[in-house]
Symmetry: C2
Subunit: 186 residues, 2 copies
């Protein structure tokens, strides 16, 4: 079946990128999961920058992720801030140091050149992968983690955005971040 090839390709790409992340992160004492968590947090909105969101995003248990985050904090890569309203939740943000690292490693050096050299239709590739990811997430009952913009709960009047779930106003920039509560617009 043709789709099986796509599966093989994505698995192989995933394995090689993982290997690459390990190599790149090692000098900084970081494992692949650390870089992935930081990369997620750099793109997560304020409803989604929590340990449990990271766990759901990466498909890991919250207990595990909790320990990884502690390691990241010790390494000076993560800042924690208690939530204003809910004493249970913690907000996470990559430090400047972590952001600099992400800028250098995510995507890894050579990626952009390889993208260009492959001659692939980037937009079409992105569209195809996005659709596939959505279908898989839906099939497995996982959260979508889509951009706030494009969520069915988002309301906007002119340039003023508000989240229909929380009734909170949203800065325009923030509607480009990933949200744990995202549901694709109809």
């Amino acid at each position: 079946m043709a789709g099986d090839r796509v599966f093989d390709l994505i698995e192989r790409l995933g394995a090689l990128l993982r290997s690459e992340l390990r190599r790149l992160g090692a000098p900084h004492g970081l494992e692949p999961v650390h870089l992935q968590a930081l990369a997620y947090l750099a793109r997560a909105n304020r409803y989604s920058d929590t340990p449990i969101a990271v766990a759901e995003f990466l498909g890991l248990t919250k207990g595990n992720v909790s320990q990884r985050l502690i390691a990241l904090e010790k390494a000076g890569m993560l800042l924690r801030r208690p939530d204003r309203d809910d004493a249970r939740v913690v907000h996470l943000a990559p430090t400047a140091k972590a952001q600099a690292l992400l800028a250098a490693l995510s995507p890894p050096p050579g990626w952009r050149a390889a993208m260009a050299a492959s001659g692939a239709d980037t937009a079409r590739l992105e569209a195809g992968l996005t659709g596939l990811l959505s279908a898989l997430q839906q099939a497995n009952g996982r959260r979508t983690f889509g951009q706030c913009r494009g969520c069915r709960f988002l309301q906007h009047v002119g340039n003023t955005f508000t989240c229909g779930l929380t009734r909170d106003p949203l800065e325009p920039d923030h509607t480009l971040l990933l949200c744990r509560e995202h549901e694709a617009a109809a």
Copy 2:
């Protein structure tokens, strides 16, 4: 940059598939790396069904892979056969039990349905990912692990195939397998 989105998508797909593999393999006592190794070996030709080829394919050290393979053999998933000519090399093959497992788990249940539901142009997606993978492998100095057919060393006269590197005759079916020595045809 647009290509960065593709990177994010592939990383996320990789993470979720990895999580899925862990869940699916757990009842059989198998970790993701075990399933990936078996899936590779099921598609590897006779020059490529060795521990070192598995290590190169997955981007892991040979020492590590060696231990994984021992675990797989103990689990009755792998058969070892010494090479006829070179006493150093070992040939690996998934057992019938392992093949049955692969048929059930690779691709995981729901994958084909998700592929269909996504409405993506499978052929185009496959082409784009293949090109990207090739470019990345070349950029990182990694082996291609392409199909024997499509390799620049392959020679064929009518329906008789021979490998230009080893001078060995190849059964037509075997030219569809993955080869460690693969180099794309000019």
